[in-house]
């Protein structure tokens, strides 16, 4: 009962009868540390664990895999084209004689890099625009949100195709920039909505009665509290970017040869599916689906985990 004794001391200092003091507010019944709670709720979600597992596997597969499984991904050899899976080529070879398994690794690198990088661009841009629009409101909000509305109503694919046509020698960086600069719209809306609701919360008012500046409000309250939505959104955005990249690749606006992404591989291979060359289509297709699905699983679980309000006691 250290508390009541310290209250008692304080009482004496203030020369007030200790009897007047009310008893202490009771023990804090709080559970464990917050991050541990979060980790627990994340672990509880089986799909999340599976999703994380898949993602970890693919990162290792794509970036560590080539160090173990050495293949020639530089020079073509038509003589080797379309070998079925064998001990030498675990997933056979493609039309250029590249080892298919090694090709998936290289293509996966590009897909993951572009997915992460473009979603990073989209998130930073979207959070900034959303927070400014939500907090300032009024004319600024109206203008920014109308821009978002207009951009959202432009068919994204066309724009990217047109741009992709102009800069035909696409690289990982240029594709990330193009995809990123068109997918910040959703996160901008999301963050703006979150900021709008946070702005009216009592703790913001409390902070304002202290005389807090706008800068303080944004950095100490709004961003930390909106961060949950943002983090969740990143995972979905990675998934979307990888999908978009695949579509672009499929339509022939992918990376410049010899660089390759999963979409490019699918596009090249699909013509040969009737010939029975299943190994150039299904493995890469399954990889694509698995990665996108895993991102979505993790996103769903993070949404539950990150949100303190949903957290069980």
């Amino acid at each position: 009962m250290t508390v009541s004794s310290s209250v008692g001391e304080l009482a004496d200092e203030a020369s007030i009868d200790p009897g007047v003091f009310l008893p202490d507010a009771g023990e804090v019944q709080g559970p464990k540390a917050t991050w541990r709670l979060a980790a627990r709720s994340f672990r509880d979600n089986r799909l999340a664990v599976v999703g994380t597992g898949i993602l970890v596997f693919f990162f290792l597969f794509c970036f560590v895999g080539p160090l173990i499984y050495h293949t020639n991904q530089i020079s073509t050899n038509i003589a080797n084209a379309y070998y079925p899976p064998s001990a030498k080529h675990l997933l056979g070879t493609d039309g250029n004689g590249f080892d298919e398994l090694g090709r998936i690794m290289v293509g996966g690198q590009a897909a993951l890099e572009i997915g992460l990088f473009s979603s990073f661009i989209a998130t930073v841009l979207g959070t900034l625009v959303g927070a400014v629009a939500g907090l300032l409101g009024g004319v600024v909000d109206a203008i920014l949100m109308r821009i978002v509305d207009v951009l959202l109503s432009v068919p994204l694919l066309f724009v990217i195709l047109i741009i992709g046509d102009r800069f035909s020698n696409a690289t990982v960086l240029s594709l990330s920039l193009i995809i990123g600069s068109f997918s910040w719209l959703v996160s901008a809306r999301l963050v703006r909505g979150e900021v709008l609701s946070l702005r009216e919360r009592d703790f913001i008012f409390a902070s304002r009665t202290m005389g807090a500046s706008r800068h303080h409000l944004i950095y100490k309250h709004l961003i930390p509290n909106a961060l949950g939505v943002v983090i969740v959104n990143i995972t979905f955005q990675v998934a979307d970017a990888i999908n978009l990249l695949a579509i672009l690749g499929f339509l022939g606006y992918g990376l410049q040869y010899p660089q390759v992404s999963w979409g490019d591989m699918l596009s090249g291979a699909l013509n040969y599916l009737p010939d029975g060359y299943w190994w150039v289509v299904y493995p890469v297709g399954i990889c694509l689906v698995l990665v996108v699905m895993a991102c979505n699983f993790v996103g769903d679980a993070l949404r539950d985990t990150v949100d303190v309000r949903l957290r069980r006691r």
């Binding site: 008893p23 804090v28 304002r208």
Partner: protein, 718 residues
């Protein structure tokens, strides 16, 4: 005793969580007869709502009845199949919930919502069902009910929606009505109307009513018998008057003693139950109240008492060391105080003002800080002056967002608050009291008038000047969850004001935080915790501590205890009073709860629809109200005393709050006023003095105004 309609026998209900089991209701037995109202009272989390839901078999996810029997007119409900239960729900047992906004379907006209319920249980045509729906609407007090059948829920006010809920519940003439906090979300004036309606309907239809509530005042007036629940157990059951007069369980006694009464002496400290209710996933082995009970012995901690009868029929209690009757209203902080007589004479000396109260009590208690601090000269200016404050929100409409109307939230309100004083603001929700509070601390901008602290008009200050001025004007919020940033640790929350204002070094800030935490009765370990790890009362203490970090002069407390349970409420009220004395604070307390405002305040302002209708010392306003609205508010505030409550049968204030967009002409209260005449519609009543510092705006006041000569002297001084 009438035939029991509902018999509940050793009911136990558990709720399975992901990692633990909440033993929500344990071994609860009771019965309700025809035409009887049984009150089920207790604090939140005591299992009273779960008991109600168990009877309906509508438990939340993971909830299940583990043992016991529930018999409705002899028919066992626990073993019924879900399909059979569906024909019981709404038909034989009906339920009214607290939140009428979420309980009604917003996309369906109310006529269809009622008639669907009828058609579900009766084989009648659509037309006939609609006619019956209109009947039940008129039963709950809607004139021309058939015209309103096509209206949607959002077209009704909160009180009206609650009436519609009751109409739906009663449409099939159930044998049992379970009312779960039916009036908690409503204003006192509407609460009185709804409770009166429930009572009236019960008598007319011969139903049994299970009234689940946390409000002792509500059960005092409406229940025939009362069950007191604590931590999933019924700890005491008795006829209402018997329970309030001769309770035996220490919890019942403590619960009643911790409620501030309108007749409460403000100098007295409220009784409060230490600590918080136990966690029902791991209930304590012995008596569940033992950890908070002053009479607890080792036996209480080891062996759980069972309900045992008393000499009075139907009065049972579960306690090893029973008390007898209510606690004395005084909790003695020192022996000398015991001599203070509890009730003050209703006719106090006419001298009015604060002095009268102190002069009236023979054994003076510690003088309120008001008088101590008043000794400090303030250059003759009151600490806080609100002068003709106006705040109106534009209502925009159309594509061009043109302002079509304004919501007159605060219209021409003036009052002043002296240093060390507590000024209370009361009124129904929507009367503008919260907006006024935000105007005072500078969270809202005035449209006209001024708010002056120490003679300086804060609305004229530049942003930089205002920033340092804010140190002296802090706010305590109603919602203990929303007012603390969920992502900050308590240490950071308490440090924030000092960081924002650039006060002190890291070490001195830490010292202030540690001091404040112990002052508000929280362990020092709280610094590292997040807000969600605390209970509501603890969070409110953190909110108070944060308001005090900058050592402000004025703290505006907006409904400081409304979100808290009764036993926790008194802890926070006591804390607020004590800190006021220690820090010589000036409070502006905003609340709809008259007893709370009266307990804390030295002077009171009554607001109605954006206007201040009456202002004066606590004793003047409560004992000699001038305005009909004030008198009505006092009359409708439920008091935890069956004799007082049962004696006030007639509804004091009729109707509902008019729209603040188009307030009534003249006196804004005239539409609901019993004394309204033509003059009231034509002319707005001016503020007149009725006593020293007691002003009110009414054409036909309940008291004689002061003579003009006195009045001039009075207005000059104000």
């Amino acid at each position: 005793m009438s035939v029991p309609i509902l018999e509940v026998e050793s009911l136990s209900t558990e709720i399975q969580l992901s990692r633990s089991v909440v033993h929500a209701v344990g071994d609860v037995s009771f019965s309700i007869g025809e035409g009887e109202t049984l009150g089920l009272v207790g604090e939140s989390g005591c299992g009273k709502s779960i008991t109600g839901l168990s009877i309906m078999r509508l438990l939340p996810n993971g909830g299940h009845i583990t043992s016991g029997a529930i018999r409705l007119a002899g028919r066992e409900l626990v073993k019924l199949k879900e399909r059979e239960m569906r024909s019981v729900r709404g038909n034989e047992v009906a339920m009214v919930f607290q939140d009428s906004m979420t309980s009604l379907n917003p996309t369906m006209p109310i006529g269809r919502q009622i008639s669907e319920q009828i058609r579900r249980h009766r084989s009648v045509t659509k037309k006939e069902a609609l006619r019956q729906a209109a009947d039940s609407l008129s039963l709950v007090g809607f004139p021309r009910s058939d015209e309103r059948l096509g209206d949607y829920p959002h077209q009704f006010s909160g009180g009206q929606r609650q009436r519609i809920m009751i109409a739906i519940a009663l449409s099939c003439e159930p044998k049992l009505l379970i009312a779960d906090e039916p009036t908690t979300a409503l204003d006192v004036t509407i609460q009185a109307q709804i409770l009166g309606l429930l009572d009236d309907l019960k008598e007319r239809l011969g139903m049994a009513v299970l009234l689940v509530t946390h409000d002792m005042g509500v059960v005092a007036g409406r229940a025939d018998r009362v069950n007191v629940m604590y931590a999933g157990r019924i700890v005491e059951t008795a006829p209402t008057v018997e329970l309030f007069r001769h309770m035996h369980h220490p919890y019942t006694q403590a619960l009643l003693a911790s409620i501030p009464l309108l007749s409460q002496d403000r100098a007295e400290r409220l009784f409060s139950i230490p600590g918080i209710p136990p966690d029902l996933t791991t209930p304590p082995p012995g008596c569940r109240f033992a950890p908070r009970c002053s009479r607890a012995t080792d036996r209480c901690r080891e062996e759980e008492p069972t309900l045992q009868p008393t000499e009075v029929d139907g009065h049972l209690f579960a306690c090893w060391h029973p008390v007898d009757g209510p606690a004395a209203r005084i909790v003695a902080p020192d022996p000398g105080k015991l001599a203070t007589p509890a009730p003050e004479a209703p006719s106090a000396p006419p001298a009015g003002s604060e002095g009268a109260a102190a002069a009236g009590s023979p054994a003076p208690v510690r003088p309120p800080a008001a008088r101590v601090a008043a000794a400090e000269p303030d250059q003759g200016v009151p600490l806080l002056v609100i002068d003709s404050a106006v705040r109106a929100y534009p209502v925009k409409s159309g594509i061009l967002q043109r302002t079509v109307a304004t919501v007159k939230a605060v219209s021409d309100v003036s009052f002043s608050v002296e240093r060390g004083e507590t000024f209370g603001l009361v009124g129904e929700s929507g009367c503008g009291k919260t907006t006024l509070g935000k105007l005072i601390v500078g969270l809202e901008k005035l449209d006209a008038g001024r708010v002056a602290l120490r003679g300086t008009d804060i609305s004229k200050l530049s942003a930089r000047e205002l920033r340092s001025f804010r140190r002296d004007l802090q706010m305590m919020f109603q919602d203990p969850i929303a007012s603390l940033d969920p992502r900050m640790r308590v240490g950071a929350i308490l440090r924030e004001p000092m960081r924002v204002q650039g006060v002190g070094t890291a070490a001195s800030q830490r010292a202030v935080i540690t001091d404040l935490l112990s002052e508000v009765g929280l362990p020092a370990t709280a610094i590292e915790r997040f807000p969600h790890e605390f209970s509501g009362g603890q969070r409110q203490r953190i909110g108070l501590a944060r308001a005090l970090t900058l050592n402000p002069q004025v703290v505006v407390a907006d409904e400081p205890v409304s979100a808290l349970d009764v036993s926790i409420r008194s802890q926070v009220l006591n804390l607020m009073k004590r800190l006021q004395q220690v820090h010589s604070l000036t409070y502006v307390v905003i609340s709809h709860d008259l007893a709370v405002v009266k307990y804390l305040s030295d002077r009171i302002g009554v607001m109605y629809l954006g206007k201040l209708v009456e202002v004066g010392s606590v004793d003047d306003v409560y004992r000699r109200p001038v305005h009909h609205y004030t008198a009505g508010l006092i009359a409708t505030a439920p008091e935890p005393d069956p004799t007082i409550e049962k004696s006030k049968r007639k509804v004091a204030i009729k109707g509902e709050l008019p729209s603040p967009i188009n307030p009534p002409s003249g006196c804004r209260f005239r539409t609901r006023c019993p004394a309204a005449q033509e003059l009231c519609a034509e002319q707005e009543p001016p503020m007149r003095a009725f006593h020293d510092g007691h002003l009110a705006a009414c054409h036909f006041p309940l008291q004689e105004p002061m003579r003009p000569a006195d009045k001039e002297a009075q207005t000059a001084s104000v």
